[in-house]
């Protein structure tokens, strides 16, 4: 089993820095998800850990040993690629066998191992098939099986589910989580899909443009985003933002006022906040309620009915639109006037630099 440590890791391509100093500790057995928009450097970071990409600066430690210059195969890692990267001319058995054979494992042991893994992945009926004869989900399993048979200390996944359809993706997500629980191996998983990140991770690393924006458990990121970027990225539908002005502060937090004069008391540390200065208020769709006594008036512009819940797009008087999540039975109609209440303890405030003001209370599940 393995612990990983990244110490100020950097990657430069043609004088352009793609990874700008990433430091990170990954505990033994942890399921870590790198998440971020396309092109933010998730794959590059993963490939540097794998040894497929040279590390321009910084140290990569696995179990305390520096790995920067160690061959990929000697780092004790296995990787599942986005394209699966199965060897097309070899059948399923040979695909799983290739690495073991090169490692010099005796034939009988190889057979035992592959048979065992194939059984757990329900691949035993397909051992003689070539990858071209398999469905997307089966190929995915073979790629995972090829990683498992090598008994690696760390599993690396690069967007493994992005080539599957939605139903299969949901199913594979569950299978991967189950597999991780059973094997208990340290896992690093790259995705741009925040749902995968939220559902599978012990720890999420949010990346933007080669910089770590925040590291934390899924609920920590959800309840205590460190800045606007994380707040916007985590959560679906995304958080709503309003410009507000500070009108008062006290031991219970800040009082802010929207441009239409609605006042909200947000329980955050006042710190350096000055009355009269401008902030951004963030509130998730699930933390706005429709309420006849609400202080924020608006008009419904669009109704999205998802069955279990309904999303209302509500236009405020100043033209900004808030997404409001209500239950599936809500009878809201387009063009109907509504009044909203923002649940103040779930509101977030961000300063002019986009950094979140510290909340007075930690959420009980946020760790």
């Amino acid at each position: 089993m393995a612990k990983l440590a990244l110490r100020d890791i950097r990657k430069t391509y043609h004088a352009e820095e793609i990874i700008k100093g990433v430091s990170l500790d990954i505990e033994d057995g942890e399921f870590v998800v790198f998440v971020g928009p396309s092109g933010c450097g998730k794959s590059t970071l993963l490939r540097m850990i794998a040894g497929l990409e040279e590390i321009s600066a910084g140290d990569l430690l696995i179990d305390g040993a520096r790995m920067n210059d160690v061959e990929p195969a000697k780092r004790g890692l296995a990787m599942v690629f986005q394209s699966y990267a199965l060897y097309p001319h070899m059948n399923v058995y040979q695909n799983m066998e290739f690495g073991l054979k090169l490692a010099g494992m005796p034939e009988a042991e190889r057979r035992r191992k592959i048979t065992e893994v194939a059984t757990t992945l329900q691949l035993d009926a397909y051992l003689k098939h070539k990858p071209g004869q398999l469905s997307g989900g089966q190929r995915q399993r073979v790629a995972i099986g090829r990683a498992i048979v090598r008994n690696p200390k760390v599993f690396l996944f690069d967007e493994p589910l992005s080539n599957l359809d939605a139903a299969l993706r949901g199913q594979m997500r569950v299978e991967l989580a189950t597999l991780h629980r059973r094997l208990g191996a340290t896992t690093i998983y790259v995705t741009h899909d925040q749902i995968e990140a939220m559902t599978m991770a012990d720890k999420i690393v949010v990346l933007q443009k080669g910089v770590v924006e925040q590291v934390g458990s899924p609920l920590e990121l959800y309840h205590h985003p460190r800045n606007l970027f994380v707040a916007r990225f985590i959560g679906s539908p995304p958080m709503n933002f309003l410009s507000v002005r500070i009108v008062g502060s006290g031991p219970d937090g800040l009082t802010v006022e929207t441009s239409q004069g609605a006042r909200i008391d947000v329980p955050v540390l006042a710190e350096s906040a000055v009355a009269g200065s401008d902030l951004t208020l963030g509130v998730r769709p699930e933390h706005i309620v429709i309420d006849a006594q609400g202080t924020v008036p608006g008009t419904i512009r669009l109704v999205e009915r998802l069955g279990a819940l309904t999303l209302l797009h509500v236009a405020l008087e100043d033209g900004s639109v808030l997404i409001v999540q209500t239950d599936g039975d809500h009878g809201g109609q387009v063009d109907a006037p509504v009044r909203l209440t923002l649940l103040s303890e779930n509101c977030h405030l961000f300063d002019a630099k986009g950094m979140a003001l510290t909340k007075l209370m930690r959420h009980r599940l946020a760790g």
């Binding site: 490939r47 794998a50 040894g51 497929l52 061959e71 990929p72 195969a73 000697k74 890692l77 296995a78 990787m79 690629f81 986005q82 394209s83 990267a85 199965l86 060897y87 097309p88 001319h89 290739f98 690495g99 090169l102 490692a103 090829r146 090598r150």
Partner: protein
């Protein structure tokens, strides 16, 4: 009468299609069947351009003379040697160069153009260049280089005619192999090579187990196309050795030419032509089958 625009069905439709196809089929027939028929006809005739007294039906005589002629056996052997030798050099060298030229190095673009360029030189021209500019025992660049280091240059075309012709032809066909194989190497999925690296495969294992299997289709295609052209190599021989000394560098195509236009024996040449057609078709059938098997996998 059917007046709809639905696709033609049944006998009537097919006759219509045949009608529209007929010009193309007719041209093809005139182009290939008439020469074939004439060759077959002459191969059973006594027909010599300089001896009008010889005439009439010859039966299988032309074939008997040819098949028992030691020159014919030589020509057959040389044909096989030329095809196999050039295939080995161009495919072997082509695979190596393709893998090398797939690497990133300074000036790769220019190097690629240079390696492809011999393909655009006409066979007669490249044979002349090799014969007079490179290998000529007195004026040749090669000979000058040998003399510069104090060695006596070998007169390659005199002493090793077949091997030299083979080398010239291989020089012409290597670029073709590189071109096809390089595109094939480049089409190999990057992640596959990386997966192999993660699996612990070094450069040799990656070449042997990942790249070579990936290239197998392209190699079959190169072999097929080259074989068809190499069976009929003529210009290079004609320019450099004229099939000699003796028949040392005479292949089937050159033998037929020599029979018809140097010895004026149209009957014998035609018999040789028929045999060449049979051989080419047998080989083509084998190749097509091999390729089909390789392509469907």
């Amino acid at each position: 009468m059917e007046t709809t625009l639905s696709p033609p069905k049944g006998k009537k439709g097919r006759t219509g299609a045949a009608l529209f196809l007929s010009p193309a089929v007719l041209i093809l027939l005139v182009w290939s069947l008439i020469p074939l028929a004439l060759t077959l006809w002459y191969s059973f005739q006594n027909y010599n351009l300089v001896d009008p007294t010889l005439s009439g039906f010859a039966g299988l005589d032309n074939y008997r003379y040819l098949l028992t002629d030691p020159d014919f056996v030589w020509a057959l052997l040389n044909t096989v040697l030329l095809v196999l030798g050039v295939l080995v050099i161009s495919v072997g060298g082509g695979v190596l160069l393709a893998v090398l030229y797939d690497q990133d190095f300074l000036g790769r673009g220019i190097a690629r153009i240079l390696v492809i360029s011999p393909f655009f030189v006409m066979p007669t021209v490249s044979a002349l260049v090799w014969k007079n500019l490179m290998l000529h025992p007195i004026y040749g660049v090669y000979s000058a280089m040998m003399r510069a280091v104090g060695l006596t240059p070998i007169d390659w075309l005199q002493h090793y005619p077949m091997q030299t012709v083979m080398m010239i032809v291989a020089w012409e066909w290597l670029p073709f192999a590189v071109l096809i194989l390089l595109t094939a190497v480049q089409s190999l999925d990057h992640e596959q090579k990386e997966a192999a690296r993660m699996d612990g495969a070094g450069p040799v294992a990656r070449f042997r187990y990942i790249i070579l299997p990936h290239l197998s289709r392209a190699i079959t295609v190169v072999i097929m196309i080259e074989t068809i052209y190499l069976l009929t190599i003529f210009a290079e021989i004609w320019v450099t050795t004229s099939g000699g000394p003796g028949v040392a560098s005479t292949n089937l195509a050159f033998l037929i030419y020599a029979r018809a236009l140097l010895q004026f024996d149209v009957g014998g040449a035609s018999a040789g032509g028929v045999i060449a057609i049979v051989i080419a078709n047998v080989i083509a059938a084998f190749l097509v089958r091999a390729v089909a098997r390789n392509l469907e996998a």
